[in-house]
Amino acid sequence: MPTRRRALLVILLLALLGLASLIAALAAGSLPVAPAELAAALFGGGEGVAADVVRELRLPRALAAFACGALLALAGALMQVLLRNPLADPYVLGISGGASVGALAAMLFGLPLVFVHGGAFSGALAATLLVFGLARGDGSWTQTRLLLTGVIVAAGCGAAVALILSVAPERELRGMLFWLMGDLAHAGSAWPALAMLACGILATLPFARDLNLLARGDLAARALGVPVARLRAGVYLLASLATAAAVTTAGSVGFVGLIVPHLVRLAIGNDQRVLLPAAALAGGALLTLADTLARTLFGPQQLPVGVLTALIGVPVFLFLLTRSPKTS
């Protein structure tokens, strides 16, 4: 049983890790910035090229990466409890599929970036509402029904994405592929994602113990006083909004939402009161580091960050699968 003190310690350590990842993201790049210069750029109103690069380019991108990673990990942890399945991820219910269709459709018509972001967000919400509405259709809101509906909607979105890719003009294809793999080069402002992250954490923490019980079955949870129907609807909407915010900012970055809650769970157990904030911090740190690698590894050539998270994620995940045979 994690005590409150141990929980705070874990969260403090992960917060330091997150801070370290942000500092690394600000310092590293084709123009290396020394610690003193970094401090001056951030706090001292330093001037010159280094300060501009840090403030104008790297800081917004690092914050966006951190917020998106945290949102995806939080959404993943929530989806895993909601579906009572440790293999669920933020995209399992078709959210990223809907976002992809929206964003790629905007790109297909050559619309400016703001429409791509708008398209992604509306697509994600449309897929969410579609799955929610269909899965509730007969009143029985079981996770099997939810999962199946989500998988089918995701498959439909996949077909629509393939259609868009096949009719898209040559010059748009590269941007579309980068978007589909997740890319922070066009992140824009980090503030919507950061605000969503703050809302997500503040909204879930008071109900974290209720979520612990939700993982043990609807009837058991209800018998212990958990308002299961309302909680599930709330968790679903919140995880969807968190995913939509992340996907809108960074495209569909894979594996963060699946791997991070898993790793954190292995390290500190499944108490949602610790798991949710810890997963958010670890996810933020992971995506910030991955994005820093993505733009420095073959710099100035940039990689889509989703490729890196997948390259890290797949072996880790396969290792976890072979290690723990009990996964469902």
């Binding site: 049983m1 018998a223 212990l224 006083g225 157990g269 469902s328």
Partner: protein, 256 residues
């Protein structure tokens, strides 16, 4: 004194199947009620209805003199506990953590389990013969141990009314007796009330004060075990002939 559980004119259906029609009884503190019936007659559904987790088609329920709506989910969870039939362990968890879930309704929104909660959980584990297994992973328990763990979580909840769906499932004979003895001791010493679904007529005879028979199609019979548990009624209930034997003052039933 108001009864722990008051049931009035209760109609319970599952789809088109009638489980109970016009059912009414009182359960006082310190009483044990056994529910018996064939598979699929709605014992689990009835238990969920009595727990206030499923709306009846008609009728009224009161827990400690108040309706479930008036109590609210949290207060209701402090007063009555339910042992469900299956246990879901989707994620890893230790035995102690699992026993501690019973403390949930007693903790505030931001509360964490404290020393007292841990003491109650460890006591509950000891009561079901799981002392010293607190750090074990739930996945590594046997079916019977898992069942006793669920009962421990219920004990840690400290409800006034226990609603138990087949509490003896997966238990070996010595633990079946031990659990029934434990529950009976709680009724005598702490004045809790117990409603349990049992399949063993002889255990019902020995460890229950009252019995409720579900014959199907809404027909029910409720009363003291000596009056209700009779060879003719039980033969009709199970659709299999049962014969009553006597050994001194004790009665028991044997299937033909």
């Amino acid at each position: 004194m108001t009864a722990l559980l008051t049931v009035r004119d209760l109609d319970v259906n599952i789809g088109n199947v009638r489980v109970a029609a016009g059912l009414g009884f009182d359960l006082a503190a310190g009483e044990r009620l056994a529910i018996l019936g064939r598979n699929g007659t709605g014992k689990t559904t009835l238990l969920a209805t009595l727990a206030g987790l499923r709306a009846p088609e008609a009728g009224a329920l009161a827990l400690c003199g108040e309706s479930y709506e008036a109590l609210g989910t949290r207060r209701a969870a402090q007063l009555r506990g339910l042992l469900p039939q299956g246990h879901i362990d989707a994620f890893q968890s230790t035995v102690l953590e699992t026993a501690l879930i019973g403390r949930h309704p007693h903790l505030g929104r931001w509360g964490w389990e404290g020393r007292e909660d841990e003491r109650l959980a460890r006591e509950a584990l000891a009561a079901v013969d799981l002392a010293g297994l607190g750090a074990r992973e739930v996945h590594t328990l046997s079916g019977g141990e898992r069942q006793r763990l669920a009962i421990a979580a219920l004990l840690a909840q400290q409800p006034k009314l226990y609603l138990l769906d087949e509490p003896l499932a997966h238990l070996d004979l010595n633990h079946q007796v031990a659990i029934l003895e434990l529950l009976s001791r709680r009724t005598r010493e702490d004045g809790v009330g117990i409603v349990m679904v049992l399949h063993d007529v002889n255990f019902a005879l020995r460890y229950a004060d009252r019995a409720l028979l579900l014959f199907g199609e809404g027909r029910t019979q409720e009363g003291p075990v000596d009056a209700v548990l009779r060879a003719e009624a039980l033969t009709r209930l199970f659709g299999h002939p049962l014969r009553e034997r006597r050994e001194g003052a004790a009665r028991y039933f044997l299937p033909d």
